[in-house]
């Protein structure tokens, strides 16, 4: 077993375990942390697949930014509330498991029929990754995929604005009467205001 395979067999089970942990954890924060573990393992897989740039991006964007965002929202909505794990839909869980299993089997069949389980990755990826993966990726991205890249930037701006519009709570004018009722304001006095 080569070093690569060893690394794979160390991190692949951790990835699956992380996914299962996320699936089963009652607490949303735990689930998020399990997902971070899983995402980190996937980042390692990218390294094994000779995509060091994506490895970095995966850790920074996913494990870093996105999961932090998730955690923020979880905190915002209240963590102490445990998730209700009862299932009101009859047959939902067994059917879901059956379908998931069927999916795995199907992928297995497809992989077996397509590339076979023993096929190694071809040689010569170094040539593709010449001058380093980041440069090579940049070359492809900014030459062949330049328009999609620009469109994606537009998408990000729209998403940012959309998030603000959706989550922004319009400040409601608070009336004096409400403030008085809450005891935040003393009722107006009879005497003339001080000059």
């Amino acid at each position: 077993m080569s070093a690569d395979q060893l690394v794979f067999w160390i991190f692949a089970p951790i990835a699956v375990a992380g996914a299962i942990g996320m699936l089963l954890s009652r607490n949303a924060v735990h689930a998020a942390l399990f997902l971070v573990v899983n995402l980190f393992c996937i980042a390692v897989m990218y390294l094994l697949l000779e995509a060091p740039f994506l490895f970095a991006v995966q850790i920074i964007v996913y494990a870093g930014a996105i999961m932090v965002l998730f955690l923020f929202v979880i905190m915002l909505l209240g963590v102490d509330r445990g998730d209700d794990l009862r299932e009101p839909l009859i047959g939902q869980r067994p059917l879901a498991v059956i379908l998931a299993a069927a999916f795995v089997v199907e992928i297995a069949v497809a992989v077996r029929a397509g590339i076979g389980f023993a096929t190694m990755a071809p040689e010569g990826f170094d040539a593709v990754n010449r001058d380093g993966n980041a440069r090579a990726l940049a070359r492809v991205l900014f030459r062949e995929y330049f328009l999609p890249f620009e469109v994606t930037s537009l998408l990000l701006i729209v998403a940012a604005v959309a998030a603000m519009v959706l989550a922004h709570r319009r400040a409601r004018a608070v009336t004096q009467a409400e403030l008085e009722r809450l005891g935040l304001l003393e009722p107006p006095r009879e005497e003339a205001p001080s000059p």
Partner: protein, 637 residues
Amino acid sequence: MVGAELTSAAVTPTLGLLWLVPALPLAAAAVNLFWGRRLKRAAGWLASAAVGAAFVLSALVVAELFRLPAQERLFVQHLFDWIRVGAFRVGADLRLDALSATMILVVTGVGTLIHVYAVGYMEGDPRFGRFFAYLNLFVGAMLLLVLGGNYLLLYVGWEGVGLCSYLLIGFWFEEVANANAAKKAFVTTRIGDTAMLVGLAFIVWRFGTLDFDPVLGRAGATLTEGAATAIALLLLGGAIGKSAQVPLHVWLPDAMAGPTPVSALIHAATMVTAGVYLVVRSAPIFEASPVALPIVLVVGLVTMLYAGTSALAQTDIKRVLAYSTISQLGYMFMAAGMRAYAAAMFLLVAHAFYKALLFLGAGSVIHGMHGEQDLRAMGGLLRRMPVTSATTLVGVAALAGVPPLAAFFAKDQILEIANHTGRPLVWALGSLGALVSALYVGRLAALAFLGRARSRAAERAHESPPTMALPLVALAVGAAAAGALNVVPEGRLAHLLEPVVGAVPHGEGIPAWALSTLGGLIAVVGLAATWVVYASGRVDHEMLAARLEPIPRMLGAGWYVDAAYERFVQAPTLAAARFIAGVLDARGVDGLVHAIAGGVVGIARIGRRIQTGFVRSYALVFLFGAIALLVLVGARS
């Protein structure tokens, strides 16, 4: 044969103005319709001015036409192509010949006077402007009717005047009775109009065109007797409806619900004569059929006697005149049925004058008595309304046929032609009708103007304003002098009309002077008799009427024709409609629809259970679909 022999005159500057004759009233109608409320009283003067201008123009154009030689007195003004479908085309053509010239002069002339009168009569009405808009629209449509150079344009005018008639009968629609009368008029005439429309379709089928020249010129050659009869009778159906002949006469007495100027203009002088005009205009088609003209004659004769007797027992002054109008129109149909088209037209012109006069006089009486229309409440108005009474009495004498007023000549000629063409029965019944008309009109005059006042309203009656009195005087002059148009059957009017409608039929019979003397005698005797009964005070006419029951009641109800229609036409129709609506439609058609709808609802009720609203269920199905799709793709490759 007639019509086609005329050659069309070249356009001259004056003749070229022909299109303005209908256009002016129509334009004024548009102005009054949109700005009538703002114009206030000016709306009436604008309307009168428009019709007056149309009259002056008509006079100019007609004078120009009659300057031409007799065989060239035809002018067709092509305004634009209206319909062009393959070989079939209809132009917006105005056709001026002696016949339409007579008609436009009557329509605009009498129309102007009635407009002026209406300015006074409708004073203070909240919908003053709208009234004149409708009135102008009517005049425009009527001019289009008589000037139309083809049957379709005639039909446009025909329906236009029908619409205006409806709008004006129901002008005071706040009263349900008025609205119902308008509806009755519209629906009843519609029966005839539908027949006429079918007739037009027949004409298109047979001739491929609706233009008068080819249709009327080739009528005898193109049509078989059966086809000619069919077309003629269908057209006659329209004429019967529009001219209120038996059996479609029932709407005209009820049409008196409209303002009196409307009754005068539409339901006496002009619109109702459109039927006569149609028969005269379509004479070649009628002549091509062996039975059409006799049917016209019989319809006219029956109507004349029926309506005359009904008029005898009416108590509403306007209903007397309405039945009288029906009766007079019957006379015109009689004349047309005897091919005496010129005599029919002569009576039409004369009748327009004296009947408009009588109606306006009646309107003036009603105005002076603050809305009272019952003859029994009148009496002795001669002293309190001198102008109205004097002019109306001229109209009465004219209608009765007192020589030398208009109807004396007109009726006399019709009776003379009846006698001289070997129709003694027609002559006898016509003379009887003349006596009856003298009786009912004499009764009206005696009850309204002579004797003593029989109500407080009659005692306090006042003379009408000058705008109403002046047209009365003008019409009285016309009614008195109209006879001069055609003193003998082959007189001036007949001569002018000859190129269009053909020569007046003649023959031998009782000498003309004897017939005329008899006619005059009938009128004088009739009037004198009514004076004795109703005004002299020597006879208690109410006792007399009571002793004659149930005849007066039957006559007053118009021989119960309305009741019979209600019983035998209306009630079964309503019952059938109720059956169709309540049973066939509600249970049958709706039942089927409801059953289908119910079935769909039922299926949907079951089907919507799939829609649980649980997103995760949907996701499950979604995933299942995705996997199934992958299996499918995998299995194929």
